[in-house]
């Protein structure tokens, strides 16, 4: 039915199967939309946020997807500015993941501001002393950059690229993509950093407070570093997951291994810096504020924030994946590669949880207790919604756009014989390369 839209030389599942898959993800999306409407219509009383938790699940999800979307800016930086040509085989997918992550982040922020109609206030009535203002500026601009990086992919659709203007536009955008990539890297450096700067400058909350350089606490640099290290891991993870789902190889191993190696060394550098930062904070910064390290990890309900969380973040989800990714054997073995990228992804999500929610949960005055928080179902539904949105976006993009340049080479399609065409016309239509499918008559060049 839609074979005319499918890229040439690749095979896709039948339309009914595709629609079923999209329908399943769409059902989850609708659940999120329902919760979103409740939040919009009834207000933030639909959440479990309170005076202790001005930031809650949404802001954690926001920071987590922004960190995971960091694969787009860092891979773009490596591809267009450093000139690592091999990464051209995965940059499209990294851009798509970045686009999904950042559009999700903006969507989540639209719930969190409470009155979305006033979202533009941050641009017009900007508080120029707030790191979050800088985050809002950079986030919006970088989303524009991601749109610009994603649009040429859309324009490369088999039918759209037949329109000469769109074909030329796509080509021209590719030509100056380095400028957009540089702008994206600049914007990402600052908004990733400023997100880390927010807990770092809160001197009234010793759990998050850090020293630093000029106006930038160490967390500013750690957040940017961790996004650059773990973002590509998320790109690898989603690529591998997509390969499992579609049951075909989409990117060559040497490309994955190169990105994993770069990511591994970035992660190693980050985790060393993180260990030094943690040690200095525990030995100098926190005691100067009247706290010992264990004050932050004891006497909380159910030991939800026990010392295990620090060990998990730094050792299990930091040191271990870094060690795996910097070794040839670790990268080449599929089990260890999967383990490393999953741990790195979990690690950066855990770090954002700690720096957003544990900071708010820990008591700061002697008479205070830990503040417990559990999100409402509306918060959970609206946080799960971007996952469904991501599945739909990836599925549609994979089906209709040339996202993976190596797919055709890795999965050659044999032309069906004429006998097979007569015997099973329906099956042959699904198996045939799109240029031989019924929709091909739309191609004026062939007509």
């Amino acid at each position: 039915m839609d074979s005319a839209l499918i890229p040439e030389g690749v095979k896709r599942c039948p339309t009914w199967q595709f629609l079923l898959w999209i329908g399943a993800a769409g059902a989850v999306l609708l659940w999120g939309v329902f919760a979103m409407l409740l939040v919009y219509i009834k207000g933030l009383n639909q959440t479990n946020m309170n005076n202790a938790y001005g930031f809650a699940l949404w802001i954690w999800a926001d920071l987590a997807v922004i960190a995971l979307g960091g694969g787009a800016f860092f891979t773009g930086f490596l591809r267009y500015l450093i000139g690592i040509d091999k990464l051209k085989n995965i940059i499209n997918f990294a851009v798509l993941i970045g686009f999904i992550c950042y559009s999700s982040a903006l969507l989540i922020l639209a719930f969190d501001v409470g009155q979305p109609l006033r979202a533009w206030f941050i641009f017009w009535h900007a508080n120029v002393h707030s790191m979050l203002t800088e985050v809002a500026f950079c986030l919006t601009c970088y989303f524009f950059v991601l749109c610009i990086e994603y649009i040429p992919l859309v324009l490369e659709n088999r039918q759209i690229s037949k329109v000469p203007f769109f074909h030329n536009l796509s080509h021209n955008m590719h030509e100056i993509m380095a400028i957009f990539a540089a702008t994206g890297a600049f914007l990402s450096f600052f908004h990733q950093g400023s997100l880390g700067g927010v807990p770092g400058v809160m001197f009234a909350r010793p759990f998050g407070f850090r020293e630093g350089i000029l106006v930038w606490p160490w967390t500013f640099f750690l957040f940017t570093w961790s996004a650059a290290a773990c973002g590509p891991c998320f790109t690898i993870f989603v690529t591998k997951l997509t390969e499992k789902i579609v049951r075909k190889k989409l990117v060559k191993d040497d490309v994955i291994e190169l990105l994993a190696k770069i990511s591994g060394w970035m992660l190693t550098g980050y985790i060393v810096a993180k260990i030094i930062d943690t040690w200095y904070w525990a030995a100098v910064t926190a005691p100067a504020k009247g706290f010992s390290l264990m004050d932050f990890y004891t006497n909380n309900p159910g030991s939800a924030y026990g010392i295990w969380i620090l060990v998990t973040e730094i050792v299990l989800c930091g040191v271990l994946p870094a060690l795996i990714l910097i070794t040839n054997k670790g990268r080449q073995n599929q089990i260890t590669l999967w383990t490393a990228v999953i741990l790195a992804v979990l690690g950066v999500c855990l770090n954002r949880w700690v720096m957003i929610l544990q900071v708010l949960s820990a008591p700061v005055l002697p008479f205070e207790n830990w503040f417990p928080y559990f999100p409402s179902w509306q918060e959970i539904a609206t946080t799960v919604m971007p996952l469904a949105y991501g599945v739909i976006m990836i599925s549609i993009s994979y089906r209709y756009l040339p996202i993976f340049p190596q797919e055709q080479e890795l999965n050659p399609i044999a032309a069906p014989s004429s006998q097979a065409l007569k015997a099973e016309p329906e099956a042959a239509e699904l198996q045939a390369p799109p240029e031989e499918a019924p929709g091909a008559e739309l191609d004026p060049a062939k007509a």
Partner: protein
């Protein structure tokens, strides 16, 4: 916010924040405009045979 808005103050905060914002938006806007105009000119000249 623009420098001619009544809320604008010529201090470092406004210049750095809004200067950065307009700088980034200018690069993005000029880049896209360049691509669109070039594509329109090339299309008008029937120069659509680029190979990727």
């Amino acid at each position: 916010m623009f420098p001619f808005s009544f809320e604008w103050v010529w201090d470092m905060g406004h210049m750095v924040f809004h200067g950065g914002l307009w700088y980034a938006l200018s690069i993005i806007g000029l880049g896209v405009t360049y691509c669109i105009i070039k594509a329109a000119v090339e299309t008008a000249k029937n120069k659509d045979g680029h190979q990727h």
